[in-house]
Symmetry: C2
Subunit: 198 residues, 2 copies
C-alpha cells in the first residue's frame, strides 16, 4: 500500500464522488454548453442524486471552478514570502507573470477558457470569486508594510491588482498587458496622460 495510510476509505470515496461530479460536469458543459445542461443531467451522468451534487458544490457555476481552490494562499504567499528587498507591487507583478499568464495561455486549457469566456454567467462568477480574495490580499499587504489592517492604499491596490486578469482577457498580448498595468499602478496615470491631462 504505497498510498497515505491516514486517509480512510470514507474520505477517498467522498473525493472520488466529488471528482466524478466535476468530471461529468466539465464533459457535458464542454460538449453542449453550460446553459443547455441542467444540474440534473450532471448528477445523472455522475450517477448521484442532485442532493449529493449540492452537498459537494455550492452551486452550478462552482462545478466549473473546481480546481481553483488555493489561489488565495498562493496570492498571500507571493506577498509574504517575496525575496528580500523586493517591493510588494513587484512581488505581485512577478506572481502575475509567473502564475496567471501561463495558465491563461496554456493550450491544454483552450477549450476550458473558451467555455468560461463564452458564458456570461461563468465569466461573472469567476470574476466575483476572484475578487473575494481582495480582503485577504489587502490584509497581507498591509501587514507586510506595517500599516493598519484596513489601510486604504492597500485595499485599493489589492482590488486593482485583482482586476488585472479581467482586463487582460481578450487582449492579444496578456504578458504586455500585465506589465503595462503594473507600470501604471506604480507610476500613476499622470505619466501616461501627460501633466495637462492629469
Amino acid at each position: 500500500m504505497p498510498d497515505s495510510p491516514t486517509v480512510g476509505r470514507r474520505e477517498r470515496k467522498k473525493a472520488a464522488t466529488r471528482q466524478a461530479i466535476a468530471d461529468a460536469a466539465l464533459e457535458l458543459f464542454l460538449e453542449h454548453g453550460f446553459e443547455r445542461v441542467s444540474v440534473r443531467d450532471v448528477a445523472e451522468r455522475a450517477d448521484v442524486s442532485t442532493t449529493t451534487l449540492f452537498a459537494h458544490f455550492p452551486g452550478k457555476e462552482a462545478l466549473v471552478f473546481d480546481r481553483e481552490a488555493d489561489v488565495e494562499a498562493e496570492l498571500v504567499a507571493a506577498v509574504r514570502d517575496r525575496p528580500e528587498g523586493l517591493g510588494v507591487v513587484e512581488a505581485l507583478r512577478a506572481h502575475a507573470l509567473a502564475s496567471w499568464v501561463p495558465l491563461a495561455a496554456d493550450p491544454r486549457r483552450e477549450r476550458f477558457t473558451a467555455l468560461v469566456n463564452g458564458t456570461p454567467a461563468l465569466r461573472e462568477y469567476g470574476e466575483r470569486m476572484w475578487m473575494r480574495h481582495a480582503g485577504a490580499l489587502s490584509s497581507a499587504i498591509a501587514e507586510e508594510l506595517g500599516r493598519d489592517e484596513d489601510d486604504l492604499a492597500c485595499a485599493a491596490l489589492a482590488r486593482f491588482v485583482l482586476e488585472i486578469p479581467a482586463l487582460a482577457t481578450g487582449r492579444h498580448d496578456p504578458r504586455a498587458t500585465v506589465e503595462t498595468v503594473f507600470d501604471l499602478l506604480i507610476n500613476g496615470w499622470r505619466s501616461q496622460l501627460g501633466p495637462d491631462a492629469g
Copy 2:
C-alpha cells in the same frame, strides 16, 4: 392639457404599470427584506401577473435598481463635457465627489442603502451593473485623449475608477476615500509605498 402631446395613452399606461411594480417592490422589500418577498408577492401587490412583471424588468434584483438608469450617460458626459483645461481624471474626480458621494450620504436614501448593502445578492448585482459601464467610459476617455478605442491605459483607468464606490462603502469618510484613491491613481503607488517598497 399641458403635458407633451406626442406620448400616447399606451406609453403612459406602460410607464404607470412599470412604476407601480417598482413601487410595490421597494415597499415590500423595505418592509420584509429582499429574500423574504417573492416575485409573485410583488406582482400581486402591483396587481399584475408575474409575466407582466418580467416583461418590464429582467429579473428580481432589477426591481430595486429601477431609478439608476442613465448613470452611464452622466458618466460619459462628465468626461466629454468637462471644463476646458481640466484633465480627464480630474473631471472624473469632480463627478465622483459631486454625484456619488452626496447620493450615498443622502439621509432620505438611508433605508434604501441599508437594504442594498445588507443583501449580498443586491450588492453584487449593483456592483456588476455598475461595472458594465466600463466599456462606455473607457471609450469616452480614449476618444477624449485621441487614443485607440481599446487603449489599455484608458480601459484600466475606467475599471479602476468604477471600483471606487465599492471601495468607499463601509468607510467612515467616503469623501476622503474618493480623494485619496484618485490621488493614488494619479501619482501611483510608488509615492505611497516608498521607492524601495514599490
